[in-house]
Symmetry: C2
DNA sequence: AACTGTCTGTTGATTATCCAACACCGTGTT
DNA sequence: AACACGGTGTTGGATAATCAACAGACAGTT
């Protein structure tokens, strides 16, 4: 942990730049987005952009990395409990997807680059497989189940219906 | 017009400070609000506050003055048309109240100080009386009517139902 | 009365952002 | 080919905001 001491100004600048890029990604393809555009939307001077990021791609990478780190952290807190069953783990996973559906949906859909999707799948899989007993691991069944659940969640998330899923969640649990 | 050249940073700082004060006024009385509190909510250094305003009261005054100026400007554009009838003028007035109901409601209700309310009434009255013919003015009737309408609007606004009024506006016009 | 904690108003040194300007490049126009 | 246009990446000086620190005022505790 290189403890970056973050000035309020830096924090604000980076935040609005990230927000701007995400907003723009809703509307147009990544490669069509210009530095100038990002800065105008963020109301930040263009030279300030270059003080933080080399180019839009590096900004995008930063956003992705932060989401991955956040996801890892979130899931890790629930990893501590011993031997949760698959259903509860799935629930946690979907809760996270649901909470961050706005960003995740955008990032997963910016077709072309699917490295982000790979990373998400990887973290999710680690989480699901983590607490299996070694005997369970010998049968490859849990692996298939994990992959199945994760793929399903991600594809649904991409389409954008996950919010509805969350809304109906209570009903299902009865 | 002392043409204030406004740096983006100044604009942002002042904006968040104003927003913060308004948010706090929703929750507590003006005199119980501290500079520190405003700055923490705005995420602005306290010393920066003093670079812009002497104290919370001056900040409040600024907010009020800007609303008054904005209101005057808005109504002025509709003042240009000749001889609009009272009904249409009233409509414009209420439209403005409705558009700004969030701020207006807060500012009008911070009981104690009613100087702001006086200013609002004054601007509104000017607007209503402005286009009366001199014969009309001789009878004091329009004066009473204006006062009546304005008082009514303001009181309704204070209670917070004006949004509902706007929502039902279309029905009334039929 | 001494003590504690909190807000105040101000300061000086440091850092971040702004702005305007620049040369460069690629694309499209005439 | 010459040209205008718009985005790029970079610079230097001006300006604004940050942070940390300070002494003073005040209210509540012990």
């Amino acid at each position: 942990m290189t403890s970056e001491k973050l000035d309020r100004r830096k924090k604000y600048t980076r935040m609005v730049l990230k927000d701007s890029l995400l907003k723009l990604l809703k509307q147009k393809t990544f490669s069509s987005i210009t530095v100038k555009e990002i800065c105008e939307l963020a109301d930040i001077n263009r030279s300030t952009f270059y003080a933080h990021y080399q180019d839009p791609f590096q900004l995008l990478e930063t956003i992705e990395d932060e989401i991955i780190a956040d996801m890892r952290k979130y899931l890790h807190t629930y990893n501590l409990q011993e031997k949760e069953d698959a259903l509860r783990m799935t629930e946690k996973l979907i809760q996270y997807f649901s909470a961050k559906h706005e960003e995740l949906q955008i990032l997963l859909n910016k077709s072309g680059e699917l490295s982000f999707e790979r990373k998400v799948r990887h973290v999710a899989e680690q989480f699901m497989m983590n607490k299996m007993t070694s005997e369970e691991k010998n049968t490859h069944l849990p692996e298939y189940v994990s992959k199945f659940i994760i793929s399903g969640s991600i594809e649904v998330l991409k389409i954008g219906y996950l919010r509805d899923v969350r809304n109906h969640q209570k009903k299902w649990r009865s």
